[in-house]
């Protein structure tokens, strides 16, 4: 008979697939992260690139080593690459290279593999690595190299501990870049003046990433663009970042001004949203699927918890690790949130008999 097929597979239904795969998801996450990292290398110089590369290499090597030990080759799922990249992004560019290496090893070996590998860790591995080195080497981790443009203006090193709003920094002599001055001036003159408002200096530097900070954190704009791509591809669900940033922004707006003028509803929301690791945390760390809740309601609660904790730590805590500790803390609550936010089951809504 014609065309008798030889290799018919007997397999269970369904026989078609939408086409996504774990490695594809990880790859997309990496692609969406790359522009922000490239910006970090651009403003902080080749040192930043070294830090990121060391983080990635340490992460991949640890995964490979453990894979050989456990006879379970898992490098190709791409999760170690994402972890390594994220670890590198949360490092200051000036940090000695053994620190990102230690962070990556801790992230992969302790936070992920010792719990059973991908999918079983309860804590975001990259954040665990970052937290581990932040507490082990507090001093080099708290110092962030200034962007090269600012270094020329005489700001060699700048501690990221500053929590005050932009206004405070400017009055203290914090420099803004020429680009910020030019763009802000243009915006004020042509767009905002007719609307009866104006933009103070410094915010554009903050949004674009012309500020001191960690390598992958500074460019809020590029992180937001990558985040938008992840949202569009439904790799990140909107619930976590929206409730995270929403709750945090709301709290900052209401209570954030108390420390400065002692007034409610005067908080500097834009400064708080775009500074530090918040955007990186809200779009790339908190929504990490393994360590975030399963349902829409769950993710809303989880994001809100992250927002509340970030606000508390930033404004009333003594640590600079607001975003990262908040997310790690909320990671612990994920099983509990899952337990109380089950999906609504079909046909259990009570007797709807005719």
């Amino acid at each position: 008979m014609r065309g008798e097929p030889k290799n018919l597979q007997a397999a269970a239904a369904p026989h078609v697939h939408v086409g996504t795969c774990t490695a594809g998801i990880m790859g997309t996450a990496v692609l969406c992260l790359l522009p922000a990292g490239a910006w970090g290398v651009f403003v902080f110089g080749a040192g930043a690139l070294k830090v990121v590369l060391v983080s990635i290499a340490a992460s991949l090597l640890t995964e490979l080593l453990l894979a050989l030990l456990l006879h379970r080759f898992t490098l190709m799922d791409g999760s170690a690459l994402v972890t390594g990249l994220l670890v590198g992004y949360t490092m200051p560019a000036s940090v000695p290279l053994y620190i990102p290496a230690a962070a990556s090893v801790f992230a992969i070996a302790v936070a992920k593999m010792s719990f059973g590998g991908l999918g079983r860790n309860w804590m975001n591995p990259a954040l665990a690595g970052r937290a581990f080195v932040a507490f082990s080497w507090a001093e080099p981790m708290a110092v962030a190299a200034a962007p090269l443009a600012l270094a020329k203006a005489g700001m060699e090193d700048f501690t990221v501990l500053a929590k005050g709003p932009m206004d405070f920094l400017i009055r203290k002599g914090y420099p803004t870049s020429a680009m910020d001055r030019a763009l802000t001036g243009w915006l004020n003159e042509h767009l905002l003046a007719p609307l009866g408002t104006s933009l103070p200096g410094g915010y554009l530097d903050l949004l674009l990433g012309n500020v001191p900070g960690c390598i992958g954190e500074v460019s809020a704009l590029l992180l937001l663009l990558g985040g938008a791509a992840l949202l569009a591809r439904k790799i990140v669900r909107w619930e976590t970042p929206v409730s995270y940033l929403g709750v945090f922004g709301l709290l900052v707006w209401v209570f954030g001004g108390l420390g400065f003028q002692g007034l409610l509803f005067r908080g500097d929301v834009a400064f708080q949203l775009f500074s530090g690791g918040l955007i990186l945390g809200a779009f790339y760390m908190a929504p990490e699927p393994v360590t975030s809740p399963l349902t829409r309601r769950g993710r809303l609660i989880y994001g809100a918890g992250c927002g509340l904790l970030t606000f508390l730590i930033r404004f009333y805590g003594s640590l600079a690790e607001g975003v990262y500790l908040a997310i790690i803390f909320m990671n612990m609550f994920v099983p509990l949130i899952n337990r109380f936010t089950r999906p609504r089951r079909f046909g259990l809504a009570g007797g709807l008999k005719a």
Partner: protein
């Protein structure tokens, strides 16, 4: 499309590929030289063989007799001689006896010359008996014995009778063609159902994309002055599933573990009603059905009227063989159908399609990874289950936990596996879990 109705939670939109065959009129498949009749082609207990090797059988003769109400007769689709009774594994799995008939003699009953039965004057009880005698089962895939399903206890008032023309499995267009080509017979089938069931309302659910069928049905209903309503629904998968269909049409949910009758409704498939029409009007048993033979590897795909018991290999040959090697050959549709390892498998009552998939059509290949809790399976599940957790419970043999999670609500629609990026065989795992649980319950 905006404003269209569908079930609210979960579901997926796999490419339908119905354009391969939707325009092709039903054509007759060649008569088989030998036919294989599994005695378990339906839900319920298997039929008992009523012939022995060497017996002469006529076209449409009962060869397997239903021993109880929840079962169905099996008829020979060809005249001939019984070669053997053999054990076989039907596509759906399990094990059953099968009667093998070699073609011999003449097709003496053509069913067309016979004077039509005046069904409007026949009492409902006799109509039901006729349906039972003709071995009619649900032709949408579930193969539930129709006479058993329609045998309402006295005093049960049926609010709604739904004619299911959704055909939500990709590729399959058998019901689409029946709605176009056999509109009148279909309405007769509905009329017979109404006489038996006396429902207050009749809805015909059709995919909103299937505008031809909607137009044909509406025109025929109007011409006959009937009160049936055609209700277009969004072609989301699995909209053709009975409970999701009722949810979309009425907003009511069949209680977990319950039957559609509990919300006052019954659902029957288009193909079933056509078979009911032929059974009652022509006294023709269920010996043939429309099978969509489709998928890009087929040289000449089509909608074929096939004698039951025909080897799928004969259908492959009839459709010109394969132009490219198929990676999988499926009895039924690609979402819930059964992969066939060999071409000797016979066409059975519940087989709506024979679909060959190239590896490209199956979606990009990838290897299995651990679950990353991405929650896509939760979002795809129309039943509000957490397939990833159920799978973990079953793998760990924690059946009690799985049952509490709602394992038995799983209808094995395949949505979870379809979307899982970790490529975990969730549907298969849940299906096995259900079987094991059933096995435990029996002990």
């Amino acid at each position: 499309m905006k404003g269209s109705r569908t079930f609210p939670e979960g579901g997926i939109y796999p490419p339908t590929h119905k354009d391969l065959t939707r325009h092709l009129a039903i054509r007759n498949a060649p008569l088989p030289a030998e036919a294989i009749f599994p005695l378990q082609q339906h839900r319920g207990s298997p039929a008992e063989a009523s012939v022995r090797p060497g017996d002469r059988v006529g076209e449409g003769m009962v060869i397997g007799r239903a021993a109880e109400a929840f079962s169905a007769h099996v008829h020979s689709s060809i005249p001939g001689v019984v070669r053997e009774l053999r054990d076989m594994v039907p596509p759906a799995g399990g094990r059953c006896k099968a009667v093998v008939v070699d073609l011999e003699g003449a097709f003496d009953r053509s069913w067309k010359v016979r004077e039509p039965r005046p069904w409007r004057d026949v009492p409902p009880r006799d109509l039901l008996a006729c349906i039972r005698d003709c071995g009619i089962v649900g032709l949408g895939g579930a193969a539930f014995p129709t006479a058993f399903k329609w045998d309402l206890r006295r005093g049960t008032a049926l609010e709604l009778f739904v004619v299911n023309g959704m055909e939500s499995e990709p590729y399959v267009t058998a019901d689409h063609r029946l709605m176009l080509e056999k509109t009148s017979e279909l309405l007769t089938g509905i009329g017979i159902a109404c006489r038996i069931l006396s429902p207050r309302e009749v809805l015909i659910a059709v995919d909103e994309q299937d505008t031809e069928a909607i137009a044909a049905l509406e025109a025929a209903i109007q011409a006959r002055g009937l009160g049936h309503r055609v209700t277009p629904l969004e072609g989301k998968y699995p909209q053709g599933e009975e409970k999701q269909l009722l949810k979309a049409l009425t907003g009511r949910e069949v209680p977990s573990g319950g039957q559609s009758l509990e919300v006052g409704a019954l659902v029957s498939n288009v193909g079933t009603l056509f078979a009911v029409c032929e059974a009652v009007v022509l006294d023709k048993p269920l010996i043939e059905r429309v099978v969509t033979v489709s998928g890009s590897p087929f040289r000449y795909p089509g909608n074929l009227k096939v004698r039951l018991g025909t080897r799928v290999g004969d259908l492959v040959e009839e459709c010109g063989g394969f132009s490219t090697a198929p990676a999988r050959l499926i009895a039924g549709g690609p979402m819930t159908g059964f992969a066939l390892a060999q071409l000797d498998t016979p066409v059975t009552k519940g087989m709506s399609g024979l679909v060959a998939l190239s590896s490209r059509e199956m979606g990009m290949k990838a290897w299995e990874t651990p679950c990353i809790s991405c929650a896509r399976c939760l979002e795809a599940c129309p039943w509000g289950l957490r397939p990833n957790l159920l799978y973990k419970w079953i793998r760990q043999r924690c059946y009690r936990e799985a049952l509490e999670e709602g394992l038995m609500d799983c209808e094995e629609c395949g949505c979870c596996s379809y979307v899982c990026p970790a490529r975990i065989p969730l549907t298969q795992g849940l299906s096995q879990g259900k079987l094991m649980n059933a096995g435990k319950g029996r002990r």
